[in-house]
Symmetry: C2
Amino acid sequence: MKKNILVIPGDGIGPEVTTWGKAALEKIAEIFGHEFVFEEALMGHAAIEVTGEPLPDETLEKARQSDAILFGAIGHAKYDNDPSLKVRPEQGLLKIRKELGLFANLRPILLFDELLQASSIKPEILRGTDILFFRELTGDVYFGEKNRSEDRNTASDLMIYHRYEVERIAHKAYQAAQQRNKRLCSVDKANVLESSRLWRETVQEIAKQYPDVETEHMFIDNAAMQLIKNPKKFDVVLTANLFGDILTDEASQIAGSMGMLASASVGESTGFFEPIHGSAHDIAGKDLANPLASILSAALMLEIGFGLKEEAKLLVDTVDQVLKEGFRTHDIADQTTNRFKVLGTAEMGKLVLK
Amino acid sequence: MKKNILVIPGDGIGPEVTTWGKAALEKIAEIFGHEFVFEEALMGHAAIEVTGEPLPDETLEKARQSDAILFGAIGHAKYDNDPSLKVRPEQGLLKIRKELGLFANLRPILLFDELLQASSIKPEILRGTDILFFRELTGDVYFGEKNRSEDRNTASDLMIYHRYEVERIAHKAYQAAQQRNKRLCSVDKANVLESSRLWRETVQEIAKQYPDVETEHMFIDNAAMQLIKNPKKFDVVLTANLFGDILTDEASQIAGSMGMLASASVGESTGFFEPIHGSAHDIAGKDLANPLASILSAALMLEIGFGLKEEAKLLVDTVDQVLKEGFRTHDIADQTTNRFKVLGTAEMGKLVLK
Ligand SMILES: CC(C)[C@H](C(=O)O)[C@@H](O)C(=O)O
Ligand SMILES: CC(C)[C@H](C(=O)O)[C@@H](O)C(=O)O
């Protein structure tokens, strides 16, 4: 199989971890005899520094021509500390999601047995958890009109949904539920928000086309609680952009660490694969980041992007094996015991490749 | 001390639990020689059934004339299942918050040692946690303009903040932080939302007036994760209406159960005291609800509403004592051991009064 892959390292720990996601893809190509052709491009603060823009036209052009994109992370302390800056790294990520029509963000909560202890949640609560989030990615308050009054004393963002936006992601989520445990929980705030009422109404309609899937509707506040109280009760979770952002980060504690979770954004064309962690500028360049989420993002690319199940499985199994052998990066090491061999980013990356 | 207290039982388990919050206030009045005069009023589904409106004028009038309000819960399955209904119970709660100018919702995460085991989070992660949430309560996407297109295919809610709204709650939160551990974490989504950028800018300004308090800014997705990863690192958390709704429900797992958490809404006049749990219609009328959050709401009324610290402490200590003696309601009982004496709502209520 021949594929063109665009690598966008981005900001902070992005470049360090993406190195290993890319290396994993190269290794897989070698083992299975595929041809993966790589290109690189800039986005975020890294792109602003060079071109003045968070998403240069050239990057977007390359993205459109590629078969899949491996992305690192975005964001920089400078912008976080100064809310008045007009050009911001995150605009690059939002724009590429919109331009490529990546309306469905899939975030599987993959639970490695070996990491049950790394979570702040009790192992007996976690064991057996298997959740697949469908987060809507090109609508909501992320993309609605933004306003700042002239005196700068009033600011607003429009939370807005169109029925077709809810329908298309709902179909994807229901289809996935049919392949899994046939339960779907749709999360909204329909007791307060009109956009959530449209969301709920639409999901109720779509649900009728999937009578084999059991549907539940839950308010976001309750969901944020239930997710840690009893994660096992969830199978597929379907939710809006903002609520999905919050819930999936929270859910990373189920997997032991944010450093373990990958996500796939799909929609109209090219798939986009990235860790769910952020740019973590505080640890960037210190060889402390966990490269496993990037390697697992590569696995998602193989599976969801290219339909290469066996190849994806080899990567996931290798990660599992490395954890079984007691190797850990800092974020997933239990500092109170010395049962683990704690590795830096590069050592961990190399080990998985071996 | 003479005080007029309005009791609004509301919907679902509201009436069952509020009975005990009120009884606790009566008992305190008797012990300390205060005169508490009670009135009752309708709100939510309970009010719609009788008057057609979720907040009858009479209730609002009584609320304005009272010195404090003890509220139960709001909401009903009928409306949750039918997003198209125009008159909804929650509108009553939102309207009374707005009309009384209750812009600051204080949610202390009170951790009873005895309940460390009741949480899904590991006791060693929880121990020592002491968080006070300040949730903004009369702005945000809760109160911004709502719209539904004529063809009903597009729906929106305006997420909007004015600088003065952020300022007034920020001052309250900073003043509280000065009395506590002098750390304040402000939660927003300033990397994406304009309203959050106004929020962050404003908090940065106010922070300068409280140089003795250490300020941190955190994105909501990260906060949802950090809250369960390392709850001890938080002291005062300041956030917007929607984010506060989500984070405080999530934080209820720190306290072992939602059935244990009380909240105080204050602002321009009369204080409003309520459990943070919802109407839980699935268990309503079954003597299964936990009355402790209502009793602790009564304690907050005594302390924050009336400045009666000793009286409040007696209530909190009594709850603690009852837990120490091994008594539990269903939500906080560990079903796997029989170390606990599991009680119904009424038995638990009576026990605390004794
Ligand atoms: C960086 C930020 C804009 C982004 C988001 O909020 O979508 C990130 O948190 C994510 O979840 O991918
Ligand atoms: C019932 C609902 C409108 C309310 C809210 O979202 O504010 C509740 O969840 C709360 O937290 O008090």
